[in-house]
């Protein structure tokens, strides 16, 4: 009996490790390929001779990318949109979630429904587009001609994240708040000194969700920003990809460059991933916290 148990356990363990390893390889392979292809030569990439390791190693694609002003421009734009967008969403969400978490708020149910309804039903892309056009016009009349601010202010704000924050605020024991009020703390001080420190991990998680969705944003930024100089990195990467699919553009490429056009896009992709990879360990910590909380063995 005992022996049979061990065998089935062992078999299952072997299967688990094998399949997980395969899945992990599948997850990693595109990234490794990206790095290899970005530093390989023209012929190696163009005729798919690169499978895993780079061939004919050179860094000319990176060099050209770093000399490209439009690249740096779009990179700065993305940083701008991500920074201000995250702060804007975070401040609004924290303030709103704090107010919603208070039982004494009048029409609390109504306000909650006001949020939740947007998760159930959205007007759709066309009304959204018309609305953004109107917003653009209104912003224009009050002197905000820069479409960056339209993207920062009007896009984003997910009801789900506000509800996450609200639930976390509701879990803060009211005794602590009462003690702070007895000590003469104002509403803002209570929020700043009590609620925010006590929900640090959920705020960090939500902030990272905001940040990543801003960093990765593509469609509305592309649709609403007329001026190419305002385009964020994702739009720039895509427009490059579309450009290189056009055969006319590639006539005479080989005589001028020692790398394939793909390598340039791979290089841009690497640069666009690096910031996410830098903050990733910090997010990972919070995931692990939540996940491992129940699992002390």
């Amino acid at each position: 009996m005992k022996r049979k148990l061990e065998i089935s356990e062992l078999v299952f363990k072997i299967i688990s490790y094998t399949l997980l390893t395969m899945f992990a390889i599948c997850c990693l392979y595109p990234f490794i390929y990206t790095i290899s292809a970005s530093i390989s030569g023209y012929h190696a990439v163009q005729y798919s001779e690169v499978v895993l390791l780079p061939k004919d190693i050179q860094f000319t694609a990176f060099a050209d990318m770093f000399n490209d002003n439009m690249f740096w421009n779009s990179y700065t734009n993305t940083l701008f949109l991500t920074f201000y967008g995250t702060i804007w969403e975070l401040v609004l969400s924290i303030l709103g979630a704090y107010a919603l978490s208070k039982k004494r708020l009048l029409f609390r149910k109504g306000f909650n429904f006001f949020l939740v309804f947007t998760m159930w039903f959205s007007a759709g892309t066309v009304p959204q587009f018309l609305n953004y056009l109107d917003t653009q016009r209104v912003f224009g009349t009050i002197g905000i001609t820069d479409d960056k601010w339209l993207v920062v202010l009007a896009m984003g704000m997910a009801a789900m994240n506000i509800i996450l924050l609200r639930n976390s605020f509701e879990g803060v024991p009211s005794e602590i708040e009462e003690a702070a009020i007895v000590d003469g703390a104002t509403e803002m001080q209570v929020l700043w000194r009590v609620y925010i420190p006590m929900s640090k991990s959920i705020i960090a998680t939500v902030a990272l969700f905001f940040g990543i969705s801003r960093w990765n944003g593509y469609y509305w930024a592309k649709t609403m920003m007329k001026n190419q100089n305002e385009h964020p990195l994702m739009v720039y990467i895509r427009s490059n990809l579309e450009q290189y699919q056009n055969d006319d553009f590639l006539v005479g490429w080989e005589s001028k460059h020692s790398y394939a056009p793909d390598s340039l896009i791979y290089a841009m992709i690497i640069c666009s991933i690096i910031p996410i990879l830098i903050i990733y360990p910090f997010i990972q910590k919070y995931f692990a916290k939540g996940v491992n909380a129940g699992g002390v063995k």
Binding site: L5, E9, S16, L19, L20, A24, C26, C27, L28, Y33, T34, S48, V50, V51, V91, L95, G96, A99, L106, F114, L115, T118, W120, S122, A123, G124, T125, V126, P127, Q128, F129, L130, N131, A154, M157, I163, T186, E187, M188, L191, N216, Y218, Y219, T223, M234, R238, Y244, D247, P261, D262, I265, Y266, I273, I276, Q284, F287, V291, N292, A293, G294
Partner: protein, 358 residues
Amino acid sequence: MQVNDYLIFDEESGTYIEDPEQVVRDDVEKHHWLNVLRTVLKDWRLYLMLIPMILVFLFWRYFPMYELLGCFKMPDVIKSVAEQNYVGFAHFNTLIFGNATSSISPEFWRAFRNTFLLSFYGLLFGFPTPIIVALFFNEVRSNIARSIFQVVTYLPKFMSTVVMTSLIVMLVQGGSLTSGVGALSQILESIGAIDHDTAQTGLLNLPQYFRAIYQISGIWEGAGYDSIVFFAAIIAISPTSYEAAQMDGAGKMAQMRYVVLPSILSTIVIMLITRIGSLLSIGYEKVILLYNTNTYQTGEVVSTFAIRYGVNNEGGGGGVSPGKGLASAAEMMNNVVGMLLVIGANTVARKASDVSLY
């Protein structure tokens, strides 16, 4: 004095008087709005905190719903929605039953069908995978090994759609020259999964491969990350349950069947219901970035249909037949059905588990 229920006997004076609490209640009733205003003013800081969020949702979530009036009106380039002429349900009729002059109705039904099928296959293949991955994670006892697996498999979730689709395009089609074949296509060709012509044409130009590419990349992206919630449920199982099962001579499969599955069943049910609720809300970004005119047949979903006719103004946009009115009518139908699914799913979840999702 009028007799009413609220009179109480006052023993000191020996007469009936009005209940003082009721006087306050009547007062509140009489000055309801004043009272509300007083409460709000006393607590103005709290309400001030709420205002910015409410305004953002009002401007950019609810005002678009007002634009939905366009569904019932004749689109016009110059006039605003309020000024356009009513056409009743004409757009809906055109979409559902078609009309003699345009071929929009079959196109709409194709988009609707594709939306449903993409979500349905996503549910069919994308839903069980994270559960299986979570079961595998549970087998990895070494903390370091498990952390490495987790870090690696969660990673694709944080890539942007543009990066993911660019990788797909370049790995499958080689991105550039028509003669180029991507690394992945080459691997598939060498193992005989696809023939030479298919590889040369490019998988992304062939409608029969669109759904497979969409689903596989979806699983690649989400399977690791989505397993978190199931894994959390699995590691919450008390070790004594396993020990008891082992005492009874349960093998690995029996343990899975009688210990693990029942313990995570409630999580599975809740997640399944959530997924069913969002069955019709397919993200349009990924589809836009992956499909092209060759793959409209299987790739076009309702939101990209709406974008094509309503935002990009294909076929004229303004007053002519396929335009903003038709496009928003199509998307509204999709979203209303979607909303009914969400509400239904939420009701079922509440009945099944006493947990309301929202």
